[in-house]
């Protein structure tokens, strides 16, 4: 029922997600000083509930995190309807796995959701939501 164009967009979302996460985690783990280039100037990072707006601030925030090693275990991606995002190609990506931080005890499961948008032939992160898999109850 879905048009061939829509189906191709599904293929493309998946293939872009594979390439994007390969680049993203390599940068975060090995060349973190370059990571903010992957975000829109007005990009948003929400790290365990802490919101950081704009790629300058995101860069500073990331540099203050301990060195990390991410191992991806599951990945999923969907296109967002172009009617919703004013004809900009936008993908929703969900990446889950384990992260190990320097000087920290063992690996921690994490889940991360990205909204990426095509701008002038480059993929940019519009928003990035990172959550460690821990209890969030206030009690």
């Amino acid at each position: 029922m879905a048009s061939e164009v829509a189906l191709k967009n599904v293929d493309n979302a998946c293939e872009t997600a594979e390439e994007f996460t390969r680049v993203f985690y390599k940068q975060v783990d090995n060349s973190r000083h370059l990571t903010s280039k992957l975000y829109l100037d007005t990009g948003l990072l929400v790290w365990n509930g802490n919101g950081i707006n704009g790629n300058d601030k995101i860069q500073k925030f990331l540099m203050d995190l301990p060195a990390s090693n991410h191992v991806l275990k599951t990945l999923d991606a969907q296109p967002i309807s172009e009617n919703v995002v004013s004809n900009k190609l936008t993908y929703l990506i969900q990446a889950c796995g384990d992260v190990t931080y320097q000087n920290d005890d063992g690996k921690k499961p994490f889940q991360q959701t990205f909204l990426i948008v095509a701008v002038d032939g480059k993929w940019k992160i519009a928003s990035d939501c990172f959550r460690l898999q821990v209890p969030y109850n206030q009690s």
């Binding site: 365990n48 919101g51 599951t74 990945l75 999923d76 320097q102 519009a126 928003s127 969030y136 009690s139």
Partner: protein
């Protein structure tokens, strides 16, 4: 002579919720309360109302670790067989098929997942986009399977993309779900805000108070 590397970095403290716009607080709370009241009820069919006609939904499931994978309560068989983990599902045809498309297909898929009771008070909610055209929110938390043997708890991460609809309400256009086992720490703290009986009525349980002010990095 040493190197100027920062070795005493620690992880920033975690917050239960983030709101890009405080104006979205009530809407998000109401939406989630209503959604999960139905999701946790005997029938998920009424969720048809919550989805856009052309909505897409996908679910990926993964084990927390290799340990305990064979303990009966840890088995994620009910999810794994439908998991759209594209690291494993590599051919295009299957990737298309595992993406549920259209509200009927979406709700039919959701109806086949195990029955649940979500720990709404323990939800971490992040409102990432809140504009007149589009709302994006993520949830992290745990739920209990209510009719499965041993009533195991599961950990989930979920994202909704929501748009306003013609009748003044809202419709989900994208739904992405990740399901895993709970950690020991999650298990110990689950439902510590009180157990809410699964209800089939609309007198729903409150979602945890979402922080009233956005917490920006200084």
């Amino acid at each position: 002579i040493g190197f100027d590397v920062s070795e005493d970095l620690s992880l920033p403290s975690r917050q239960q919720s983030f709101l890009i716009d405080p104006a979205g607080q009530n809407l998000v709370r109401e939406f989630l309360t209503q959604y999960f009241a139905i999701y946790d009820s005997d029938s998920r069919q009424p969720l048809l109302e919550a989805y856009h006609e052309t909505a897409t939904m996908s679910m990926a499931a993964g084990y927390l670790s290799n340990e305990g994978r064979n303990v009966p309560g840890n088995k994620l068989n009910a999810y794994i067989s439908n998991s759209r983990n594209i690291m494993r599902i590599t051919d295009r045809e299957s990737r298309r098929r595992y993406l549920r498309t259209g509200r009927l297909q979406v709700v039919s898929f959701l109806s086949d997942l195990p029955k649940t009771n979500h720990d709404l008070m323990g939800f971490a909610v992040d409102l990432l986009v809140f504009t007149p055209a589009m709302i994006v929110l993520t949830m992290n938390g745990v739920y209990r399977e209510t009719t499965s043997y041993g009533n195991p708890t599961r950990s989930f991460h979920r994202t909704f993309v929501i748009i306003p609809n013609a009748t003044g309400g809202f419709s989900i256009t994208n739904d992405m779900l990740f399901v895993s086992n709970t950690t020991k720490e999650q298990e110990d703290k689950s439902f510590s805000g009180g157990e809410v009986a699964p209800s089939s009525s609309t007198s729903a349980a409150p979602v945890a108070t979402i922080a009233a002010t956005p917490s920006y990095d200084e």
